[in-house]
């Protein structure tokens, strides 16, 4: 077995105010997989995601367990490399895009990694082309539509050439066309993806495998179609399919 891209073992965490969010989470994601992380509000999904690149760790609260990315443990001395390997796309693009132009914003990450000049420019334009936003490089981010900003937010992370792309609610607030365009983009990328979402049809469409987190524990880790059709499991963990959507009758998934 190869080293998993993401190797989370026995991760437990309580915030400094005493609220315990994670109770021993185990999660492995292998090279090239696209995995959906499902769970009701307050299940600890965001807390888990913030552990993946060391924003939260045992030192910021009370914690136990370990996280490793391609064999490299998430520790203070490795943080810069960990943050290159794990690219997190946050839910609100306005939180992620803070520079004066799209180009400067996408360049922010690679420039922090020490890239300069032509190499930096190449990396930036490459990432923007992957999300189809190369024509907007010189626009200020706040002049773009919400869907375009979400795509630029993905590009800011792709520019760091991460080993795993972590998306927090990628389809939220998108109109159906932008939602579909983003799915096309995600499918076209040759990168491991962990996607936190409440959008179950989106998870089914994009991720062959799903992990369900509930009250700080992993309660299911299976093929997405099997998770979504397990009615007892779904009901027990406040997961609901949109009205009229039946995963069993979705016969052809785009690949």
């Amino acid at each position: 077995m190869t080293t998993p891209v993401l190797d989370v073992r026995g991760l437990a965490f309580a915030y400094p105010d005493g609220h315990q969010a994670l109770f021993g989470v185990d999660l492995h994601v292998h090279q090239g997989e696209r995995v959906a992380l499902l769970g009701p509000n307050g299940a600890g999904k965001t807390t888990l995601v913030l552990h993946l690149n060391g924003i939260l760790s045992a030192t910021t609260g009370q914690g136990a367990g370990s996280v490793a990315v391609s064999g490299l443990p998430v520790e203070k001395k490795n943080l810069l490399e960990i943050r290159r390997r794990v690219g997190i796309v946050f839910q609100d693009p306005d939180d992620q895009l803070f520079m004066g132009s799209v180009r400067a914003d996408v360049a922010f990450g690679p420039a922090n990694l020490g890239l300069r000049g032509a190499a930096l420019e190449q990396r930036v334009m490459g990432a923007l082309e992957q999300v189809g936003m190369a024509d907007f490089a010189d626009r200020p981010p706040h002049h773009l539509s919400f869907g375009q900003r979400r795509r630029v937010a993905v590009a800011t992370v792709l520019a760091m050439e991460p080993e795993i792309l972590v998306l927090d609610e990628p389809s939220s607030n998108l109109d159906p066309a932008s939602r579909r365009e983003l799915a096309d983009i995600l499918r076209s990328l040759d990168v491991t993806v962990l996607m936190v979402t409440h959008d179950l049809p989106y998870a089914l469409e994009l991720c062959p495998r799903s992990v369900v987190l509930s009250e700080g524990r992993v309660v299911a880790d299976d093929r997405t179609i099997d998770v979504l059709t397990d009615e007892a499991l779904m009901r027990a963990h406040r997961l609901e399919l949109p009205w009229g959507f039946n995963p069993a009758t979705v016969d052809s998934l785009p690949e």
Partner: protein, 233 residues
């Protein structure tokens, strides 16, 4: 959704003033304002000269005065304060006859102070507006960076420019939500509600600041922004 598209202050153009390097324009503005402030207020003709210089620059920049003058409204609070001076200041008084046989007693030193405040303030505001109209916000930042302004201050200003629209849109949505529930933000009866909205806006913006910081750390931020200089395309 989506934030506004307009630039509030910048007036698109290609004049000499638009093309001049930003750091020179900032230095010129600073020099001009310092000179105006340092000139004794009794030197009346000097202020005419300052205005002439300023109008010349505005003429060169081809920014219409009609564009600049409405934006000078920002100094109204200062002018109100200046207008109060003749009434509240001490010292010898002059009587100004009013219609209907009334007489207004004004303080001489107050009048002089009001004149000084009004003319210096107006010249400074007009000069700053000219800089803002002819220089893109990002160029102002680059200019300040070139003038060796501490990196931290430049960063704070960059974030202010970036998030001004976002925070204004937040406030807009909150007031719309308040109006929908029958609150008139202008009526004093609803000022407590307005104050709470502002408090909530502060908390929201503060939390956004924390999220932005997290997003920056996630991309390897180490306390310095990479060069704001645009790489040549």
């Amino acid at each position: 959704m989506g934030a506004g598209h307009g630039h509030r202050l910048h007036y698109h153009g290609h004049s000499v003033v638009h093309r001049a390097p930003a750091h020179l324009k900032i230095l010129a503005l600073l020099g001009f304002v310092l000179t105006v402030v340092a000139t004794p207020r009794e030197w009346y003709p000097a202020f005419g000269g300052f205005l002439l210089v300023l109008l010349l620059v505005i003429g060169l920049s081809r920014v219409p005065l009609r564009y600049l003058l409405p934006r000078m409204l920002i100094e109204v609070p200062f002018l109100v304060f200046a207008a109060l001076m003749p009434f509240v200041a001490e010292g010898p008084r002059v009587a100004v006859p009013l219609a209907g046989g009334l007489e207004l007693s004004l303080s001489e030193s107050g009048l002089l102070a009001a004149w000084g405040l009004a003319v210096k303030g107006s010249l400074g505001v007009l000069a700053s507006l000219t800089l803002a109209a002819t220089t893109e916000p990002n160029d102002v930042l680059r200019g300040l960076q070139r003038l060796r302004l501490p990196e931290l201050l430049v960063q704070i200003m960059a974030f202010m420019i970036r998030y001004l629209d976002v925070v204004t849109a937040d406030l807009g949505r909150m007031t719309t939500a308040m109006r929908s529930r029958g609150v008139d933000p202008r009526s004093p009866r609803h000022w407590p509600a307005l104050a709470r909205t502002l408090g909530a806006l502060f908390v929201r913006s503060y939390e956004r600041g924390e999220r932005v910081h997290l997003a920056m750390l996630s991309r390897g931020y180490d306390g310095r922004l990479p060069d704001l200089e645009r790489p040549t395309p």
